[in-house]
Symmetry: C2
Subunit: 198 residues, 2 copies
């Protein structure tokens, strides 16, 4: 768009969203301006509000509007279990399963030495302090089952076990709904090794 500076600036700004290239950004800008100006206003307001009000929970480090997030404040949660996840999105996925009622610690990433993210950047020390509050008896490592997530789980696990904490890891196995023929061999091997009596 020649010389429509506000439009060009909007397309540039939309490109900062992850996974959005120049074509998607143009499409988004055109859509908002042509069909959904209310949506554009709403998005601007939501962004401003989120940037101003959303910080990190002092206890579990997830995103929170208060100093301590509602999950950490909830007296009905089981304070003897602490589940370590990489991101708030992972926490959200676990919450949606309704299968876990303990507390969380969000490390906001994973170990990635090549990107300069070591134990210090992940605030390993803060996790250890959090897990050593006298209430926590079990730390459940729910980092991703990727190379980085597994390495992170290993390093965290070692450090936590040294403090005498019980450390567990989410079960590896065959995903529900899958056909064995199409499951990768590493997963099948793990499922075989961890097989359970029925």
């Amino acid at each position: 768009m020649p010389q429509a500076h506000a439009l060009e600036a909007l397309i540039e700004a939309l490109r900062r969203l992850p996974g959005v290239g120049v074509k998607s950004a143009s499409r988004m800008a055109f859509h908002l301006l042509q069909h959904d100006r209310d949506g554009a206003v709403l998005l601007a307001q939501s962004l401003t509000r989120a940037v101003e009000h959303v910080g990190h929970c002092q206890r579990c480090h997830t995103f929170s509007e208060g100093e301590i997030c509602d999950t950490c404040l909830d007296p009905s949660r089981d304070a003897s279990r602490l589940c370590v996840v990489e991101t708030p999105a992972d926490q959200s996925a676990l919450e949606r399963t309704l299968s876990y009622h303990g507390l969380y610690f969000v490390i906001m990433g994973h170990l990635s030495p090549l990107s300069g993210i070591g134990p210090r950047e992940l605030e390993l020390q803060r996790l250890i302090e959090r897990a050593s509050d006298g209430m926590v008896q079990e730390v459940i490592l729910a980092t991703n089952f990727t190379a980085e997530g597994e390495t992170t789980a290993h390093v965290l696990g070692q450090a936590l076990k040294k403090r005498g904490l019980q450390v567990t890891r989410l079960a590896r196995g065959v995903p529900i709904g899958s056909e064995l023929e199409y499951v990768d061999l590493g997963t099948i091997a793990h499922a075989m090794a961890d097989r359970r009596q029925t």
Copy 2:
């Protein structure tokens, strides 16, 4: 994210972007809050500015901050040619080719009777008035080569020819860089019919 209302509102607002579902929206929100708060502020400002300042050019109907867009105001453009495109994105693509120096008319869509978009919604009357300014000698139809775009070109072409205007259509043919084996048969048939002496 339990009870982080500002975050939930942001995710909801991001879902209004075309092609963005709940997972992408969450990823975008987390990315902005965790890694690019400056980007979030910039995006909010750009959205507000665009909504406030970007309207439609009175002459060609493309997005414009002024009453008349810079392209229509440019005295170096060839006012005897008028290129009809569906969207500002199509106009932008044509501009980037540097192969066209005339003016534009953006119909902001295509005929789609099933969606209730008829000639009136596309402001066919306005296009006819615009093309009848005494300067325009050729109207180049550059709507998309889809079923809707072809229908739109046909209807617009009929109406414009009645006014005695010369109407042309972008050439159909084999795209540059393609292997004939993989080009659809309709395209090859058109390219054969429209073959040129070299």
